[in-house]
């Protein structure tokens, strides 16, 4: 329950701020999202109502602005979020891209990786798969708009509350070490995954060609022209025959003639057929 609703002028100020910094489009109707993410920050920073808190943002409190951008651009992250896309990845996408790979070196991109749970979930599945498929190499690359999230993901360290969220417990005991109450991914998992800053709305620079891209629950934040740009940016680094996995909750946009859509269970998957956008 939010007992301090955000005014429409404050909402558009915050939306503009986020748009400038991340290309994420917070349309009217997303007030609930802004309130639910800002109220905890507001309390921690000693304000009792959002008006006062947004006032500090207007006065250019840079530290607070960074925290707000982080709070509004960060998805709730779970291990193996939604289950189905990960099952499809292991059972269908991975064997298929391995079969058609000319290099036997597979690259998986976790786009908008947040604190790293999706990227590491994929890395754990790769670790299950690699010993059964000798001759292959694989890696996961995660990118995010928030530098703080990239730091967190690179550290590979999670609280007890975080590891409770969706992580199958056999994976917890197999791939994590306990340090006090925290859990740290073993070196073999961290070696498979790397994380770097990246803005999905900008053309990727120095990004390797990918076999599979996970781009889930991010498109909803973008306006239609940016959405198009993001998908084109993904296409430019996805090899023909590779797969783009979208979030099940988002209405899948029409991607154009170079994509073939197929849904498995509750996973929304597009295969890149080759050619331009």
């Amino acid at each position: 329950m939010v007992n301090t609703p955000i005014t429409s002028t404050d909402f558009s100020f915050v939306a503009d701020l986020v748009r400038q910094r991340s290309a994420i489009d917070l349309q009217p109707g997303k007030e609930y999202l802004v309130e639910s993410r800002l109220v905890p920050l507001m309390r921690v920073h000693g304000e009792n109502e959002l008006g006062g808190f947004v006032g500090r943002l207007r006065r250019g409190d840079q530290k607070l602005i960074d925290l707000v951008i982080d709070a509004l651009t960060t998805n709730e992250t779970l291990w193996f979020r939604d289950t189905a896309p990960f099952d499809v990845f292991s059972k269908q996408l991975l064997p298929d891209v391995a079969r058609t790979s000319s290099t036997k070196r597979l690259t998986i991109w976790s786009a908008a990786c947040s604190s790293g749970q999706e990227g590491y979930s994929l890395a754990m599945l790769l670790l299950d798969w690699l010993p059964k498929n000798p001759g292959y190499e694989a890696k996961v690359i995660g990118t995010d708009i928030s530098r703080r999230m990239i730091e967190r993901a690179s550290a590979g360290k999670y609280s007890q509350l975080e590891i409770n969220r969706g992580l199958r417990v056999p994976y917890l005991v197999k791939y994590f070490d306990q340090v006090g109450r925290d859990w740290v991914l073993k070196k073999e998992v961290r070696d498979l995954a790397s994380f770097k800053w990246g803005n999905l709305a900008q053309a990727p620079v120095g990004h390797p060609q990918c076999d599979v891209i996970f781009l889930r629950n991010v498109l909803i934040y973008f306006d239609p022209p940016t959405k198009k740009k993001v998908i084109e940016n993904c296409r430019s680094v996805l090899r023909p025959g590779g797969y783009l996995v979208l979030g099940g909750a988002e209405t899948a946009p029409s991607l154009g003639p170079n994509w073939k859509r197929f849904d498995v269970d509750r996973a929304v998957v597009f295969q890149h057929l080759g050619g331009g956008s």
Binding site: T83, N164, V169
Partner: protein, 123 residues
């Protein structure tokens, strides 16, 4: 769907029962492992049992071992829900036959997510 909640804390039984009832489970409660076994012996066939570790009379780990020894109870999905939060504890529970493990404190969505992962609920 039916669930068995095994915990010596009435507060924890109440919290879990409320949560599971909201997820459309019929809930049977037991205050320790022995009571839980008695419920199974009397014919209860829950789809899932949520089991605390430290309890008087019979602890949760012993309950899980006994449950796994009886082929009649093999379809019961066993989920440990406990404040025992060490790596070695989790390994022990899995070896005894637990399918999942939730460390207290947990939030409602943690339990729901685990039940979904186990294929017991669809959300």
């Amino acid at each position: 769907m039916q669930a068995l909640v095994v915990d010596d804390s009435r507060v924890m039984r109440t919290i879990l029962t409320r949560l599971l009832t909201d997820l459309n489970f019929d809930v049977v409660q037991a205050g320790d492992g022995a009571e839980a076994l008695a419920a199974l012996d009397a014919g209860a066939r829950p789809d899932v049992a949520l089991v605390d570790w430290n309890m008087p009379v019979m602890d949760g780990l012993t309950f899980i071992k006994k449950c796994r020894q009886n082929p009649d109870y093999r379809d019961v999905v066993l989920m440990m829900v406990t404040t025992e939060s060490e790596h070695s504890n989790i390994v022990q529970a899995l070896a005894a036959g637990a399918h999942e493990y939730v460390i207290k404190p947990f939030t409602d969505e943690v339990i729901a997510e685990k039940l979904e992962m186990l294929g017991l609920i669809a959300r």
